[in-house]
Amino acid sequence: MRRSYSSQLVAAILVNSVYEMKNYPINLVNTVLSPLSFLVVIDFVSRGALIGQAIEGGLIMSMFQSGMSLQGDISHLKNDFKLQDMLVSSPASPAVYVIGMAASEIIYNLPALAILVVLGGVYIHPGAVQALELTAALVLMFLTSITIGFMFATLSSDIVQSFAWSRLLTTIFTAITPVYYPITYIPFPFRYLAYLSPTTYVAEIMQSVAGSLKLSEGVVITDWAIIGGLAAVLLIVVSRNARWKES
């Protein structure tokens, strides 16, 4: 029998996003509200001055949240429904499973991303090159968060623990760190701490591309190198250490 990888990919998207959105729409409302609520608060507090940064922050949060959601969702399907055990003993491809699950997270976040992209077009109005740079930064953000999420999913054996990690990491890496505001707002000794978060580099790149933060070319290149390198290293680590089955 000829087996279709595209079917396997679509199965992951159907299970983890389409059917969930269709049958439990409240989850969709929650996904849309999280990045938009920060955006609204920052817009009000700054009287519109930081709307650009807030939109960029919303996009980063949305991408980071996708990766963290992957962690919770894989753990949930693996530990609570034993779906992964059923798939291990089947012709399903582990690689396609992971890619499909990652794609499902993006699709789940599409409504929030669509709203943020429209707002970005209105308030930031980037050119074609800028849009490409912003997209590239977000893709690296997604790859980084998805690998962090997948690592936690393979280590976690309890869904309550998984969701707790997911919420904790999302708060630390997107709400506390300078994602919705410029890093220059942080007093100097604490600024170094912000560089422990991968979201800081993506935020610097996006704010610089959008023109809301003035950085030297060297700093921006360093940011690209760090986030790109981190994504690559994490991908290698995950592909080597992820556990599809017990051995």
Partner: protein, 297 residues
Amino acid sequence: MALQDVSFSAPSSGIFALIGRNGAGKTTLVRILATELAPTSGSAWINGIDVVKEDRRLRERIAIVPQEARTISWMTPKQSALTYLMWRGFEYSEAKKRAEESLARLKLDKFADTLNRKLSGGTKRKALAAMVLASEADVIFLDEPTTGLDPISRRDFWEILRELAKDRFIFLTTHYLEEAEQLADTLAVLGGGRLVAVGTVPSIRGRIRYQYSVKLPANSPVPAVVQGEVTTGKNGEVQILTNEDEAFAISKKLSVAGSRFSIGPVSLDDIFFQLVGESTLAEQEAATPGADGGWSA
């Protein structure tokens, strides 16, 4: 649970039931055969395919419903079967057709579009069975599929297992000895990680010394037994395991004395007790209250 000296062969059709107490190693054995767990040593073949060396090839032919598998709450039985088949690589249209056929075959078509979370426990188990039934797998592992079901739902599920076994091999693990006796073409008894017995139910029955059981209520006077074993359960009930002639003689004495008793061929519970040990019987009695299989006099 570690497995040791587990060696058996079984015909690749019908139902193979593996019984054993908690922690006997049933799930470990299933997970090894279903390629979920790699053994530290040893070898196994299913339909000529090496479980360890040819695991990818074997996965084309097998399907499993693990012990604690649950239907995904936000999906329907039809969506569950459809996506399981797509995960196995079926195109959408073929997967949809097979899913609908499988649900109809298990009489689940009226629940096909109901959310899994709204289904009863028995129907959820049937929905899981429909997923693997819809697949092309010719070897299906079901790890304790009826645990927790009420007796009616369990018997209902047996019909599904018989349906599944018509055109494929079912490897079933169970706590319920009655279930194994009702369903199994071949039976294996696992105790402490070792295979204690394997064969058809009559052949395993033939391996034990005494074929008849006489049971007396608590505090009953126990007649003298020439050949056999007398045991007293935790509830005070006395059981005499003996041969046919002795059982007849004992029952005659008890009838004359006006005592209450039951007599019958040894049940699988009795066989299991003799093979695996007394602690197992206590556990089985707790798991299946009131099951004793004999006829009353």
